[in-house]
């Protein structure tokens, strides 16, 4: 009997939904990778146009937005940690902070876009098209994450997540962290280099 337990216990349990999320994220890597490749191609082909666009980008504003997104990722893992410890209040509060930080990030991006449009940048220019497309798609991902976090809050109110059953929180975290990673790359390629 003990032998049986020893043989079967180390097998790691996999959740179908978690495998599904990772398959989705693998696809997202290809999706964002192809968009970034397109942006880099246009940028390398049109260095003068890029210099003109970069003059209008506000690094302090976007750096603040980057700190906000990284902080939100930290709060997601704190939320997961809380429910792993059976702390419902910690889960609820940390997730509420994630929602708020996500909204602040999207608002910051909307503000950046409005200043770029006022400065004369266009979505139809050679670098404006890939820039606004990619940052827009990323912002949409953040907004979807915000909506997802609101649905999670509704689930928490129903008692859907417990110390033993919290795969939904982890799946959300995987998505949110991936969106954070994409921004880490975009921040470097679009704003700093």
């Amino acid at each position: 009997m003990n032998e049986t337990v020893r043989k079967t216990a180390p097998i790691p349990q996999r959740y179908n939904s978690k495998v599904g999320i990772w398959v989705f994220l693998g696809g997202e890597v290809i999706f964002f990778g192809s968009l970034i490749a397109t942006y880099l191609f246009f940028r390398l082909r049109s260095p003068a146009e890029f210099a003109a666009v970069k003059a209008h980008l506000s690094i302090p504003l976007i750096a603040a937005n980057t700190f906000i997104l990284i902080f939100s990722s930290y709060m997601v893992v704190k939320a997961l940690e809380a429910i792993q410890d059976g702390n419902q209040k910690g889960l609820r509060n940390n997730l509420a902070i994630v929602t708020l930080l996500g909204l602040i990030f999207v608002s910051g991006q909307a503000y950046e876009w409005s200043t770029l449009f006022r400065a004369g940048e266009s979505v139809s220019s050679v670098l404006g098209t890939p820039f606004f497309t990619i940052t827009g798609i990323h912002g949409t991902h953040v907004f979807i994450g915000v909506i997802w976090s609101v649905f999670l809050q509704l689930g928490i109110r129903r008692g859907a997540y417990t110390q033993k059953r919290h795969q939904g929180i982890e799946n959300f975290g995987l998505y949110w962290h991936f969106v954070d990673i994409v921004w880490i790359v975009l921040f470097t390629l679009f704003y700093l280099i």
């Binding site: 990772w22 192809s34 880099l40 990722s73 880490i184």
Partner: protein, 99 residues
Amino acid sequence: MPDMPKTIATTDHSRPRPRYDLVFIFLIVFTALEVATSYLQSSLKIPALIALSIIKASLVVLYFMHLKFDSRLYALLFVLGLALILPLLLMMTLVMPRI
């Protein structure tokens, strides 16, 4: 690369729990370093920024997304995506702009 955060035991015994606070501090410090580096005029600026970006992304994937401790299947799915897009990325940045 700084010392990697050590792990502590988790309550559900399914896997070790990373020191999330330490990872978070590294991410903030590296981001601040990136911003400071972006204002430098040096030939090392671009390699340094790319390296910092890769380190930050790796920290998030390995610790926040638990790939360091989780099933290899998830890592395989993620790396497969990267491996598939890398040729296109190299083609469009190193070859096509010269054509």
